[in-house]
Amino acid sequence: MEPIRVLLAKVGLDGHDRGVKVVARTLRDAGMDVIYSGLHRTPAEVVTAAVQEDVDVLGVSLLSGVQLTVFPKIFALLEEHGARDMIVIAGGVMPDEDVVELKKMGVAEVLLQDTTPDKIVATLKRLVTERGAR
């Protein structure tokens, strides 16, 4: 089987990517192919990259409290590209009510900052298996 492809993206003004880079290494060590977007990407940039790379999972990390505006844009753009089947997950720090809200929008899983590496890997594998062949 081919490796799971993941795009890890940083959206917004937040200039820290240590956490994302740790996750990137964790996923690589679990045998996945990880594409990193770089800092300060816009939703349009992230979605274009994710569609061209045809990733299984788009992981968006944000710390800046803009999740409720960013994800609707991401889903609208995915729809536009005919790529609504992409698995979208969110990462970072956010209040519980936002987690509920994001899941309603279609975010498959929210991995908060304290999620263990094993849990992250297991979650991605499960989501891709549930999706099936593509």
């Binding site: 492809r5 990137a24 996923l27 690589r28 990193y36 569609v51 005919g82 089947d85 549930e130």
Partner: protein, 322 residues
């Protein structure tokens, strides 16, 4: 949430209209060597052949990804649509990879005339060369005029892929040690165009002089085509030398397209034919031999036979069952 499996034939029609997601999915299936896409790949091969393919290689850190970005921006001003395949090594431990080259090309992301695809060496099922060349064909029918393959010139596979393009560009950089790195990696000979990158640096001139000196020892003119391999100093930072590089690429494209490029075209076809055949052979053998492997391995581990004799038995049993 299971989603509908869109047949590759349908994706092909959409990809030819330039639909990004369809191109992306075809590439995934080609890379993963999915059985279902094979007949579509035949159609794709027959429809492709229009694009100019540039193989760009050099050691890690030589500025390839940055150069692909600036070169692409320059080609875009000339109205060319550009597809980029950035190949990076997988971790030898996990088989996974971190592909970070997009970061160096981030200004190009929202340009619909640019398509960037990252590949890990080990992600390709059935060999890098097979997969990369299939991906190039898909970008070709997707409407991209120039396709740049960036590979790290360290493994034999990667160097071979750079060679299997119409124009091979080899990048050497100052500041990565005393030598011209391309010599060690055996890349000197395969270049149609040499680039000395980071030409804004004060030590770049020395790299240029050293490289030219090396080249006078070897053949700078490729037999048959009369093409003189140029050495171009380029700075991705200042833009110096980019116009000259584009000009040399265009000149070489003309040579490659003329009858002078016949031998090269045959060499690429030979390479591709062999790589594809190798892949099919291994695939069939693996399938046909699978059931016989455990018993033979058991005998080998008990030293009830030697590796050669038992391997021959394995080959014979695979041949009988296929």
């Amino acid at each position: 949430m299971k989603t509908r499996y869109v047949p590759s034939t349908e994706l092909l029609e959409r990809a030819q209209c330039g639909e990004m997601a369809a191109i992306g999915r075809l590439i995934t299936r080609a890379e993963g060597n999915v059985e279902e896409i094979r007949s579509t790949l035949s159609t794709i091969y027959q429809r492709a052949g229009r694009a100019h393919v540039i193989g760009l290689t050099g050691v890690p850190g030589s500025g390839k990804s940055t150069l692909v970005g600036t070169l692409t921006a320059r080609l875009r001003t000339k109205g060319q649509k550009v597809g980029i395949v950035a190949v990076d090594p997988s971790s030898p431990y996990s088989g996974g990879a971190i592909l970070g080259d997009r970061v160096r090309m981030s200004e190009l992301v929202l340009d619909p005339g640019v398509y960037i695809r990252s590949m890990a060496t080990r992600g390709a099922v059935g060999g890098m060369a097979r997969a990369t060349l299939d991906v190039v064909d898909i970008l070709d029918i997707g409407g991209f005029d120039t396709i740049i393959i960036e590979t790290v010139g360290v493994g034999q596979d990667e160097v071979e892929i750079a060679k299997a393009s119409h124009t091979t560009v080899v990048v050497s950089a100052p500041g990565l040690g005393d030598d011209i790195q391309a010599i060690k990696a055996g890349m000197l000979e395969i270049a149609d165009i040499h680039v000395v990158s980071k030409f804004d640096r004060s030590d770049a001139n020395r790299t240029m002089v050293d490289l030219k000196k090396m080249l006078t020892f070897g053949a700078m003119t490729s037999a048959g085509t009369g093409w003189q391999t140029p050495v171009v100093g380029v700075s991705s930072l200042s833009g110096e030398g980019l116009d000259e590089l584009v000009e040399k690429i265009e000149l070489h494209r003309e040579v490659a397209r003329s009858s002078r490029g016949d031998a090269r075209r045959r060499a690429i076809a030979t390479f591709r034919l062999q790589k594809t055949a190798e892949h099919l052979l291994v695939e069939r053998f693996t399938k046909a031999s699978a059931s016989a492997v455990p018993a033979l391995a058991e005998r080998l581990s008990r030293r009830q036979g030697d590796p050669y004799a038992l391997a021959n038995e394995l080959l014979a049993s695979a041949a009988a069952s296929s």
